[in-house]
């Protein structure tokens, strides 16, 4: 509940980023005793803002307090439950999509199949081979 309330104070893009980094933290938690990775590390254009970082850390602390343990102590069932909660909250952030938009989205997605041909930037090479 606190998570949902906190997210309401952010714009949807920042809220989505916060949930994304919380999910990263929870996914990595089981490896904390052996590995350590900065959950905020990202390519420069995707780097989180100060607000996103601060909110993420605050909500991670909130989740751990609610569960009564640190994330590295979560069992598999808890991890799945929390990740489901996060993805469910994230789904609710999307701007309302119309039926027509969803139908078009489904149609576009259906056409998205694994690549089966040479990419366009290789085609000149293929042509030159044909012509030689």
């Amino acid at each position: 509940m606190v998570i949902a309330q906190t997210l309401q104070s952010l714009n949807p893009e920042d809220a989505r980023s916060v949930l994304y980094y919380i999910a990263r933290y929870i996914k990595q938690a089981e490896s904390f005793s052996n590995y350590e990775k900065d959950i905020f590390e990202d390519e420069q254009h995707n780097a989180p803002s100060g607000l996103v970082r601060k909110t993420t850390i605050r909500l991670i602390e909130e989740i751990e307090a609610r569960e009564g343990m640190r994330a590295q102590q979560f069992n598999g069932e808890t991890v799945i439950r929390l990740l489901d909660e996060i993805t469910s909250l994230e789904t609710s952030l999307s701007a309302e999509l119309s039926e027509a938009e969803l139908e078009r989205g489904a149609s576009l997605a259906e056409a998205m199949v694994p690549p089966t041909h040479l990419p366009s930037d290789d085609q000149p090479l293929a042509k030159s081979r044909q012509s030689s």
């Binding site: 893009e13 350590e36 420069q44 993805t87 701007a95 969803l102 989205g105 259906e110 690549p115 990419p119």
Partner: protein, 151 residues
């Protein structure tokens, strides 16, 4: 990378790709030679997605996280002016409406030399092995890697 992400990159982002990579694919993560966290193992990720698509894992958590990742990617691209707001909404709709099969995993084999201009190294502090690392590649053109579909 998923089939959906590959196609979104090709259709909306000028055929440029964003990926997290490791130098290892099939290593058993319990092997002393495997030096990245298990959750970063391409083989583990591949298997998790495959099981969810085939219905063997009813939670479907990995696919849900992928849907979130597709939407977040669209948010970032719109913020950078690489796509329009309408295109962002379209990608959000794709992420929401796509069937699990559209998240079928693709194995990307990237030449280190080809990728050198596009990658940044991520330090993974492995207490047992200081050589642990992963890479983030961004704006990687299709010509810099091969795509392999298994199964």
């Amino acid at each position: 990378m998923t089939t959906l992400a590959y196609n979104v990159n090709m259709k909306y982002y000028g055929g440029l790709h964003y990926m997290w990579c490791t130098p290892y694919f099939g290593s058993d993560f319990q092997s002393p030679h495997f030096t990245v966290p298990p959750i970063s193992s391409p083989l583990e990720i591949y298997e998790t997605l495959r099981k969810e698509i085939e219905g063997a894992d009813l939670h479907g958590t990995k696919i849900k996280l992928n849907r979130m990742g597709v939407r977040r990617g669209a948010d970032n691209m719109a913020k950078r002016g690489r796509i329009t707001e309408d295109q962002k909404r379209e990608i959000h709709a794709i992420g929401k409406a796509a069937l699990p099969q559209q998240f079928r995993p693709l194995l990307c084999v990237i030449s280190r030399i080809q990728a050198a201009r596009y990658y940044q190294r991520v330090d993974v502090k492995d207490r047992a092995n200081p050589l642990s690392h992963e890479y983030i590649v961004a704006d990687l053109p299709q010509s810099a890697f091969d795509v392999i579909r298994i199964g």
